[in-house]
């Protein structure tokens, strides 16, 4: 499965290119607006074409991500997917209550994390050892908060609350408590 680092690299490239283009456009505009020259009337056709372009762009971003980011489809259809493994996790008093000291996952398993909060609104995120994020979700009290994820690379991950729950919530980190094993050596 494509991982979050790959997706974010794609996003970084696309957004950086856009930023440079729009800054160049505004620089060009600011320079030329002060210069003598023809100001031909902008035809409505150009305006409507621009509107059409924005509509296509706005919609196509989501179509592209839906079809290229694997967890988008999986997330919307998670109720109809049977997971290989389920972890029931509770959160209360600014602490994680895990079902085992270490959550072991076999490579390529579909894993469901069911997280319940007994008191406040928290977050539940999985992070690599270099602090980059694998995924996160909100944990709202009184509701089932579930996320399905497929792990196809070996690794050890930490769990961290990704939502502010008061000053006491800063230290809500469980270091190296998720481990994925059994992947082929070249899957790394």
């Amino acid at each position: 499965m494509i991982d979050s680092n790959t997706v974010l690299t794609g996003q970084t490239v696309a957004y950086t290119f856009y930023v440079l283009a729009i800054m160049a456009l505004m620089g060009w505009f600011a320079y030329n607006i002060t210069r003598e020259g023809k100001s031909n009337a902008i035809k409505p056709a150009l305006f409507y074409s621009f509107v059409g372009f924005l509509i296509v762009l706005g919609v196509s971003i989501h179509i592209i991500t839906y079809n290229t980011i694997p967890w988008s489809k999986m997330d919307l259809n998670r109720k109809s997917i049977i997971p290989d493994k389920v972890f029931d996790i509770s959160m209360a008093n600014h602490k994680f209550i895990l079902p085992a000291e270490k959550l072991m996952i076999d490579c390529n398993d579909m894993v469901m994390f069911n997280v319940k909060s007994e008191d406040l609104t928290y977050g539940f995120g999985l992070f690599r050892s270099d602090n980059t994020m694998v995924f996160q979700m909100q944990v709202v009290p009184g509701h089932l908060n579930d996320i399905l994820w497929q792990f196809d690379k070996p690794g050890v991950y930490s769990i961290r609350s990704t939502e502010y729950s008061g000053p006491k919530g800063v230290s809500m980190i469980e270091k190296d408590v998720v481990e994925v094993v059994g992947c082929e050596p070249d899957a790394n």
């Binding site: 902008i42 995120g125 979700m137 009290p141 509701h143 089932l144 908060n145 502010y164 000053p167």
Partner: protein, 541 residues
């Protein structure tokens, strides 16, 4: 003139506060207080930037989170509301060519926003009440972490601001609709229809001969439509405040009310519905309206595609009512259709409405070239660039796939929130301030153009730079609303702090420039009662 003389009397002694009308004084008071609260927000921002690098001795983490709670509220209510309300209370009657409906009510708006902001800021500073502006249930009523008394004072401050906001809303709509003394009876219903955009939509479906002339100008229509969102938002915040207050009063009296009586997800939905009326409705509508106004004032030309611009403002109003779910993309109990329809698709419409405003403003400016690169024009271009950078960043994070790895990271608050507010919104407001400065001061002259140029470049580089470095940290997994005690992201945070310090220095340059332009006596004079007793906006002689 010597430095001391200029400092006391302003540049060439041109600013005479005794010549100001009550309306000019009211607007200038709003602007001065708005700028002082902006200074609060910038200093708080810098404290937090430093804290993200290394904890500051003597500042405990709960103080940090109290600052984090107050910072956006001081920035939006204390600064932006003050400057925007002050400007619009002047501009609506200015553009309608009639007096403000009630200067007294305008003064009450000013007092309530200024006092309300100070109240909630002090409550946070002293008692460390820190549920953040999001107030996710039941955190604001978690009295194991926060004092209920401090919280109640905090909520009281917010309620005062909301009351002042209601007074502003009443004043704007009454000014549009009322008939001044000695005037022929004004068609109040038709004026309201024009202001909220009904006549603009109708014109789109009529042939040119049957189209009716707009009774209110486009900027007034934009202000009216943004004001609808302002009213709805104030209602939601007041309702939420009362709910939290019930829990606080019960706690003070020794009762422990069950948190589960309020559904946390439903609460989150209505709260974000209300908050997005500001973030996605009010800001974009008011900003688009201000761009249109500035473009027409700078060029003296008619706005390009005016009917479309009017219609787009109404579309934006509907968008702002249905867009909230993009804040709940990571809430797994939120229905999937709301995530797709409201979170992704309606949000994508903001790309269209804001893109239209961007295009229309640029074409209107282009039609008048060559233009002189004045302060209002350069800051307007900065504001346009800010939203051109921040809106697409927001569209990206409002995506089911990308939100899973961006939500609550520094990406959200950097390239999207801070670039939108600091570069997009604030530079647009600076453009309006530079434009209105000679009008509101009866011809006072700016002390230093070099300082104004520095203000522009330092603010632009600082705002974009800070947002960019925060965004880079976010892409590497750095969360917002937390503290990293081991310096995991120090490279990005040091760079963001350096960019942030440019923002602080640019503001100091601007503030010094303004004080030297009107003089210390002039600043004090703005807060003294007006000697002229007139409802006119500007002096008649």
């Amino acid at each position: 003139m010597s430095f001391t003389e200029t400092f006391m009397n302003g540049e060439q002694g041109l600013f005479k506060h005794k010549t100001l009308t009550p309306m000019q004084k009211l607007t200038l008071r709003f602007v001065v207080v708005g700028l002082v609260y902006y200074a609060f927000a910038v200093i708080e921002g810098m404290i937090m930037r430093v804290y993200e690098i290394s904890a500051i001795p003597g500042v405990p983490s709960n103080q940090f989170f109290a600052i984090l709670t107050a910072h956006p509220l001081v920035g939006i209510f204390g600064s932006t509301y003050s400057i925007v309300f002050g400007a619009f209370l002047f501009l609506v009657p200015f553009l309608m060519k009639k007096p403000l409906w009630s200067i007294k009510l305008g003064n009450w708006t000013f007092i309530l926003i200024a006092v309300g902001t100070l109240t909630f800021w002090l409550a946070g500073f002293v008692t460390h009440y820190a549920p953040l502006y999001t107030l996710y249930w039941p955190l604001p009523a978690d009295f194991t972490q926060f004092s209920p008394v401090g919280g109640a004072i905090f909520i009281l401050g917010i309620a005062l601001v909301m009351l002042g906001t209601f007074f502003f809303v009443i004043n704007i709509f009454k000014t549009i609709m009322y008939t001044p003394e000695g005037w022929d009876k004004q068609p109040s219903g038709a004026l309201l229809a024009s202001a909220i955009g009904y006549s603009g939509i109708r014109n789109l479906f009529l042939n040119k001969k049957k189209q009716k002339e707009h009774l209110v100008s486009l900027p007034v229509a934009a202000i009216a439509r943004g004001t609808v969102d302002t009213a709805l938002n104030a209602g939601i915040l007041l309702f939420t405040g009362v709910l939290i207050l019930v829990y606080m009063v019960a706690a003070i009296l020794g009762y422990d009310l069950k948190h589960s009586a309020v559904d946390a997800l439903l609460y989150k939905n209505w709260f974000w519905w209300g908050l997005d009326l500001i973030a996605d409705g009010l800001v974009l509508i008011f900003v688009a309206g201000t761009w249109y106004l500035l473009a027409t004032l700078i060029t003296g030309k008619k706005l390009y595609m005016e009917n479309i611009a009017r219609a787009a403002l109404l579309v934006e109003l509907v968008v702002s009512w249905t867009v909230w779910s993009h804040h709940l993309m990571s809430d797994q109990a939120q229905p999937g259709f709301l995530k797709v329809a409201s979170g992704e698709m309606v949000t994508a419409f903001e790309l269209i409405t804001q893109g239209l405003a961007f295009f229309i403003t640029l074409v209107t400016l282009w039609s008048a070239r060559p233009l002189k690169m004045t302060n209002p024009l350069k800051f307007l271009l900065g504001g346009l660039l800010g939203f051109a950078l921040a809106v697409p960043a927001g569209i990206m994070q409002a995506d089911i796939g990308l939100n899973r790895i961006l939500h609550n990271t520094q990406w959200i608050v950097g390239p999207h929130v801070h670039v939108a507010i600091l570069v997009g919104l604030t530079m647009t407001l600076y453009s309006a301030i530079y434009f209105l400065f000679p009008i509101l001061t009866n011809g006072a002259r700016l002390y230093s153009q070099k300082l104004a140029n520095f203000h522009f470049w330092a603010h632009l580089a600082g705002g974009i730079g800070m947002g960019a470095f925060m965004g880079m940290a976010g892409l590497k997994g750095m969360l917002r609303r937390t503290i990293y005690e081991n310096g995991e992201y120090n490279v990005y945070m040091i760079l963001a702090a350096l960019a942030g310090s440019l923002l602080l220095v640019s503001f100091l340059a601007f503030f010094y420039n303004i004080v030297m332009s009107v003089g210390l006596k002039g600043v004090i004079g703005i807060f003294q009662p007006a000697s002229k007793k007139t409802k006119d906006l500007l002096p008649s002689e």
